[in-house]
Symmetry: C2
Subunit: 302 residues, 2 copies
């Protein structure tokens, strides 16, 4: 996905939020905003927004000296999600279609702002997403929830690459991977996290804390972008990316950076940003499962 | 009110919105954003946000060649509000306290996005504001709705300066001025609009279209800022500003530019922006009537 002009005000908002989370004083916050103002005019709109986000968060790290501003938030998110892991498993086991429910939960896991919520709220939100059958039917008809294609690809796959998104959320991914391993025990799964801090994206230590290494081979993308910018990924990651039978991509950042890629990818995401929702042609807050057939989709959207 | 760092992302959003309303193509929109990026680092935070807004809208005018991008919206707002003028008058006449109701309506008139609403919606919104007696009581107690001081000042005044905000909204101001003229026929009223286009702020022609010249002497501030930046106002305006017994200021822009002024002003506004609401210490959407006693208020807020 290219960068829209509407992303530009948001870059400044992200820079300010990250500066504050990194504990920057007002003067440093201003310096960071000024640096963003300096680089924005040079930024090419035909690159994806996470490319700019990468520059922004690097600037925050350099100006504040804080290498991982979201470390505390990520740990808290992991702990919170681990706490409800058994509850998620029960939800999946009690459903008529465990795989379908696990897919929905994995997407829904992205919406939760763990820090600000208690268990009860989270359960309510998840129930709302799971219960919205009307939306599920409409989305299937509109091609925004292609679970049949997802299931079809799964059945034929021997090797899956699963691209993680946020810390905390990866516990929901683990639930999905547990169901996949149960139903398709022969499938080899790689679970890819970021190499270096990128907002609240999961790192290797988050994956280990959340037990992902027990259900998949955890690898790193080799990059510090909040998405998957292939030109910054490691050779070993790229090899798996190119040869895996199935790529499952979680979240907006991975969608933004990979929606123009020429290979089939299943994008699982909650459309939280209005610009991304417009780009996809869905509403904000929608639960999306897109069967991306190479660059065709991107061409269709112009 | 000084500019907060949170205003910076919003400057870019305002620039983009205004560019689009002026009909700029994508390339021109980008140029305008780049120009904002160029001037933002030089912008002093101890000046008020409308100072920057003035630069932004000037840039939009220069780059698009459109002198008054909001002309159409303003005319539509005037027409819409004129259409419900009699309805507003009935609301005031049927209330137990016409002056109090007219004050509330004058503030409420600011919330309406006339373009997107129909008469029914607007009536509903106004009713909601008028009916919220609990909020009114709480605000009086918290010093956020100082109607007693307002009435006290009105009773003692011979000359009032009324600082207008948006087109359309000025019909609501007219209703208040009609009530004031009825109850205090001896008071001389100046109604000040902007000299040149400033977003959707009322100009002389809007005041005439909405019949303000029938209830007050309409004058110009001499400025094109979306607020009242005294250093850009005309000598004749400043003379009235300094000598009037009472100054009634409408809307956020006038509050932002005058809250640091060393004279008594009654600020009537809807706190629509979260930063302004924080600054005042109220909630977003609150109906505010502040008796500003010179720079004391600003000092109290730090």
């Amino acid at each position: 996905m290219k960068t829209y002009l509407d992303c530009i005000p948001c870059f400044f908002k992200q820079a300010l939020d990250a500066s504050r989370i990194a504990g920057a004083d007002a003067e440093t916050q201003r310096q960071i905003l000024n640096e963003v103002a300096r680089v924005v005019p040079e930024f090419r709109l035909d690159t994806s927004p996470p490319e700019m986000a990468r520059t922004i968060y690097r600037t925050v790290r350099e100006k504040t000296g804080v290498d991982d501003p979201y470390a505390h938030i990520k740990e808290e998110s992991n702990r919170f999600a681990l706490n409800i892991h058994d509850q998620l498993i029960r939800k999946v086991e009690n459903s008529g279609d465990p795989l379908f429910t696990a897919v929905e939960l994995a997407i829904a896991g992205n919406i939760i702002d763990y820090g600000a919520k208690n268990t009860l709220n989270v359960d309510e939100e998840l129930e709302k997403i799971l219960a919205d059958e009307q939306q599920a039917i409409e989305h299937e008809e509109a091609g925004l929830f292609q679970d049949d294609a997802f299931l079809g690809a799964l059945k034929k796959s021997k090797h899956i690459l699963y691209l993680a998104d946020n810390a905390g959320e990866i516990v929901f991914d683990r639930v999905l991977l547990e169901v996949i391993r149960q139903q398709y025990p022969h499938i080899k799964i790689w679970f890819a996290v970021k190499e270096k801090p990128a907002i609240n994206d999961a790192l290797m230590k988050d994956a280990v804390m959340c037990g992902l290494h027990e259900v998949a081979e955890v690898i790193s993308s080799g990059s510090d972008a909040p998405g998957t910018l292939l030109e910054h990924c490691s050779e070993s990651f790229l090899k798996i990316f190119k040869t895996a039978d199935m790529v499952i991509s979680k979240g907006q950042g991975n969608f933004e950076t990979l929606s123009g890629t020429d290979r089939q990818i299943f994008f699982l995401l909650l459309a939280k940003c209005p610009i991304i929702a417009d780009h996809i042609g869905c509403g904000v807050g929608d639960v999306i499962l897109l069967n991306h057939q190479g660059i065709l989709l991107e061409k269709r959207k112009g």
